[in-house]
Structures are given as structure tokens and as C-alpha cells.
Symmetry: C2
Subunit: 403 residues, 2 copies
Amino acid sequence: MAVGLRAPARLYPVQGLRLGALRCGIKANRQVKDLALVEIQPGSSVAAVFTRSHFCAAPVILCKQHLALQPSARYLLVNSGNANAATGQQGLDNARSCCAAVAAAGNVKVEDVLPFSTGVIAEQLAVEPIVGAIPDLVDMLDPDGWLSTAEAIMTTDTLPKAISVQLNIDDRPVTITGIAKGSGMIKPDMATMLCFVGTDARIEPQELSEMLDLLVASSFNCITVDGDTSTNDSCVLIATGAADVKVDRNHRVFFDALQELFEKLAQAIIRDAEGATKFVTVSIEGAVSVADARCMGFTIAESPLVKTALFASDPNWGRFIMAIGRSPVESIDIDRIDLYLGAVRLLHNGLPDPDYRETLGQAEMSRDEISISVNLNLGDASARIWTSDLSYEYVKINAEYRS
Amino acid sequence: MAVGLRAPARLYPVQGLRLGALRCGIKANRQVKDLALVEIQPGSSVAAVFTRSHFCAAPVILCKQHLALQPSARYLLVNSGNANAATGQQGLDNARSCCAAVAAAGNVKVEDVLPFSTGVIAEQLAVEPIVGAIPDLVDMLDPDGWLSTAEAIMTTDTLPKAISVQLNIDDRPVTITGIAKGSGMIKPDMATMLCFVGTDARIEPQELSEMLDLLVASSFNCITVDGDTSTNDSCVLIATGAADVKVDRNHRVFFDALQELFEKLAQAIIRDAEGATKFVTVSIEGAVSVADARCMGFTIAESPLVKTALFASDPNWGRFIMAIGRSPVESIDIDRIDLYLGAVRLLHNGLPDPDYRETLGQAEMSRDEISISVNLNLGDASARIWTSDLSYEYVKINAEYRS
């Protein structure tokens, strides 16, 4: 049911990165891959952000420990089908055993390997199938392994999510390729479910880390399916430097391309949101703070009554007013609020627009891609949140998830 | 689909109150009542709390104005089918016209009449059918009009909600009777959708107001269906004094009976929640503050993934862990958390209980009434939140609400 999302177009290899993916047997479905490995050439810069859940998963804890020991990485090991979350010391030991097996096969230190997991929470991870598959995984590493890896990290996703761009900087080709997964339990807080982006540009580690924070703020931190934040959210940005072109956030062509790639990956998660029939952009302008704008945007985007009206294509915009009204923002003056559905003005200075007609609202609500815009007319801060509707299919997918 | 909710048992009249209800034509459905009037004898104490929505409805604004002019009331006028919210000056004028018509018929001042509305947001209220019906309404006022009034204030409710108790205090009979409505757009913040409770005990106005705050804190402020707060939430407590028995919050028999009545009315809203197939109690103990306990309780209770697992009777309690993990509480130590589903321990000190078996969890999740209990083992504060599941029917009801 993905909204305006197609299978990935051509994915360019990134010099300095090789990838492989296979089925090792974590998932019950015998048709799908569930394990992937990314090899990073020595000397690359690696930055990562993670979920802020109190209950962050064992692989997230281990990633942070490994990055604290040395702020780079040589391998990323990713499994789907099991989150390895709420699994205690045994979960940490299991994740470390998997990393150790990769380290032995690749002749690197265990802290050079970063583990990632996604899937069911509170079940122990089966180590043997993963460790047993690592020799085969290493053998199949290939610069063209991006699509296969994007497929291997899927859970309830209906399509793999991957984007690739090539730039010409200083007469040299520079590539950026990224993959992501996620469809439900989506309200990333500093990172999304799983996202891996690589470039062969050279970026200093500290700069890469600060760039990642900026990129995530305007992409994965602006999406919500259900307001539910995962225990395993992780986002990694790798710069191998193999293209021998040095850039930083001030290189507009490069940074704009990278930002667009992050935003499109984040939007791809919403387009493929569980049960989604609509892709919805909620824009808040004229707020006194970004925090206020984001708070109101997420309140509208996560309201079950707004989401069911969107599913029904019903211009019952009293529910938008309800959500604006209940959003716990600091500063609001309802007599100054303008509210739009697409180009149709619903409220002006807090009152129903006398020119509004139900047919106008109906036409906007019937689209696949819908925008809801609020101008608080109080300040200069704004936010833009992407979300999906709440359909029978969302309930069905999540009622039947484990069956 | 109400869970464990039956039609009201016998409702005792409250001396000093008369009620009437009829159909005046606000609702399209010709079979249902949509207007009610409550007459309060002179000298009664009246306390009220209202929604904290920024976009509070015209009748809520007018109620506050009238109560500021004189802290009592002689009439409550209630319509269903139209919320009279986001209707600007015209909405206020319309509500005032209705109050004026009641005031003329009852020979009281306009500020002696409190208006209440519930229904569709952002449509102007039709004044003529209401004003035209007032003579008939006044004629039909009856001490036994409680059930008829409970029916007239329903919207998506499947059953009227009303409770009545009689006490013997100082050898005198004292009656408490209350009615409520609400089924969706339910996360009252200081008050519920609509609730009117009357007693013939005598309670001083200031004491009545403070009692109402206490009562609402442990009842209507502990329920959520969808986290969506209405523009029209109002809760009114009336003490006529006609039984000539004076009480205050320290009268345990009276206050306990009143508190139980408030809690049962709040629970009745959850039992009749839109599409509900489960009645769920989320208990948080051992928190460092009530705010933390309530925050975590509501995060669990409002998580779409928890709610769909409840609907599916699926003991996928990894989602409880996810919700605990994402709840923005101040103080948490996951290594101290105990988690229970009914009597079955899921987590002990943050780790899966080794004695847990899927069959045990399945048995608990298959019940109509489910409890989820978290002990943070950090402090003495607690909270108890009542909620419902998220079913196909919830989506259906709210996708088709206006059609």
C-alpha cells in the first residue's frame, strides 16, 4: 500500500564499501534475507546516532561502547527478525559473540565491528546461525551489494528503501548511496529505525558527526507513523574518502545532495508506513520556537482522530482544530491562527473562512498526498512533519504481527 | 461492543433537581434526543471544571463567564450533535441566545444558565430549534428525568452512562446521581467530555469546588481512549442541600461514595470506548513522582502498538517495553523495573522472567479486562490509568463519523 514509493532506481557503488546479505534463519519466513554485512575500508570516518529509548537494545549499547573505544568502524553487522532488546547480559554477550566472529573473519579488533538488530523485542538472539553464516557473508562482499542489503534489513516494510546520487565535485565523481528500513514503531528520536548512508567523499570525523546531527534533525526526526519509538533506532553515516575529494557542511552542492537523500529516505519510511494510504505533510509556521512548532506538528500528525479522517478522505477538519487545541505548546493565540488544507483556507484569524466549501475540502482530502498547514502568526519558527494515515490495515498488520 | 457495561440500574431522583430531554432536530438521526435541561433549586452550590484545550468551545467560554459573575447556576442547557467550537463571535452569540431563552422561560438572569454542547466541531449551532423547544422542555422537567437526559447527551456512545447511590447520613437519606457521556476524543484534562453529578447533601461552594478537583484527578483525568482532548469537556457537580445534611471531604462515607461514583462513570466511558473490545488498567508504582507515573501510564495506554496487541489478544509484551522505553519520564533505571501482565511477571529487574511462558501471557491477554503493571522500584509515587484497545471498529467509527 506504499504511497508514491517505487522500487529503488540504480544504486551506485561507493568506493571503499562492500556489502553482502543472505538468509541465515533468524526469520521464520524461508523466502527472505535476514543478515547483512558492510565492510568499510580503513581510514574512513564513521558517525552514528541512536534511539533515546530508556530500553535501548543490546546492539545499541555495544555500538556506543565500540565507538567510545575508537570513533570509527571496519564492519557493520545487521540482522532483522530479532531486536535483541530487553535481553540483559545474555543479549550483550550474544551481540559481542557475533561481532567477535566478524572480527576473526576480517582480522580486525572486536570493537571495529558495530552490530545492529531489528525485529521482535524480548527474545534472545540465536547466535549460531549468525556466526555460522559469516564466512559465506564475507565471501559475497561486493561493492554492488546495496540493494541486497536494503532487502535484508526489512521487517514489515513492503519495499526496500534506497537512494543513490552521483555528483561532480572539482571534476571528480563523488557518490552518495543510502538505505533505510522502517514502517511501524516509527517516531525516531535522534535516529530512525535503521539507516546506513555511505559516501566516498572525505569528511573529518568530528565534522561528519556534526553533519549527521544536522541531517537527522531535518529528516528522520521529522517523521512519525504511530508515535512509537523503537528500542533499536540507529543511523550511520560513513565517509570513506576513497574519491579523494574533501568536503564539509559548507560545500553547498554536496551537503544539499546529502540532505535531500536523508529527507527522501525519511519520506520513504512514511510512504511505506504500515497500512498507509496517504502521505501527509504537516507544516507549522509562525511559532515562537521550533520546539512549539514541532510539538504542534507532532500532536496533529499523531492524533488518531486526525489520522482516521485522513484515511476516510473526510474533510472533518474540526479534528485539526481539536489537535491544535490540545497541543501542549507554550505560546498560542487562537484569534491569530490560519489553517490550510492544501491550498484551501479553513480558518483565518481563528475563525472558519466564509469562502470555505465542503467540496473544496473534499477535493484536497481525496488526494494521496495531503498537506495540513498552520500559521500561528506569532514568531519566525517553523517545523514540517511527515506522517501517514490510520487505516484498517495498520490495525490488521499490528494485530497479526507475530502470527 | 461495550466491555462489561450494562444499561443503568435504578436512578434515584435528587431533591432540588428536575430534568427533561427531547429531540429538537440538531442531529440528523430522527430517532434520538439531542437537547436536555437541568433545573437547579435556588441556593444550591455548583462547581465545574472544563477542558484545557486552547480551542475551547463557545459554551465553555460562556460557562466560565457566567460562573465568574455568580458562582452558582439555576439551569444547565445541554445539546448533542454540534460542539459549537471554533465558531467565533457568532458561536458565542448563539450560545447566549439559547441561555437567554431559558432565562426568560425560567424567570432567571441569563448568567444563571450554563450551556454545554457536544458533537461536530466548526459548524455553527442552529439556534431556532433549540429556542423553539424550550417551552416543551420546561414543561417536561421531572425529578425522574436522569435517564432521559443521559440518553440525550450521547454521541457515539452505545449506552447511556449513569450511576446512582443512596446513603444514610445522620439518619437522613442522601442521594448522589450522576450521568456522563463520552466514547472517543477522550483524554480529559481536568474534566471529561460531559458529566453532571448531583447530590442533595449540603456542601459549601468553595469546598464543593475543591472536592471536584480531587474527584476529577482520580477519575476522569485517569482515562484515555485516543489521547485526543475535546474542545468541550465539562464536568459539573451540584449540591442542592435539599436533604439538609451538611458534608465535606472529611466525611468518609459520603466522599468515598462520591469518589466511587466518579471512578465508575470514568470507567464507563472506557468500557464504551469507540470500538473497544478490552478494558485495560495500566498501573505504575514505585515512581519518584506522580507526574512520572502518569506520564509512563499514558505512554503505555496511548501507544498504538500496545493497543493493537491488546485488540489481537497477543502477548507481544515487547511493545510494553518499547512504550516504557520511550516514555519521557525524568527518573528510570531499567535494571530495577518489574513488569506484570495480570498476575504473570514478565520482567524482573529489567530482564525477562525465566519462568515466563507464552501460554501464561496468552491466558491473561485473552481476558476482556486486562491489567498491565509496572513497578519502577525508585520511589513511592503511583498512578492508575484506564484505557481501551485499538480495533478495526475504532477506525471504522472514526472514518465514517460524519457520513
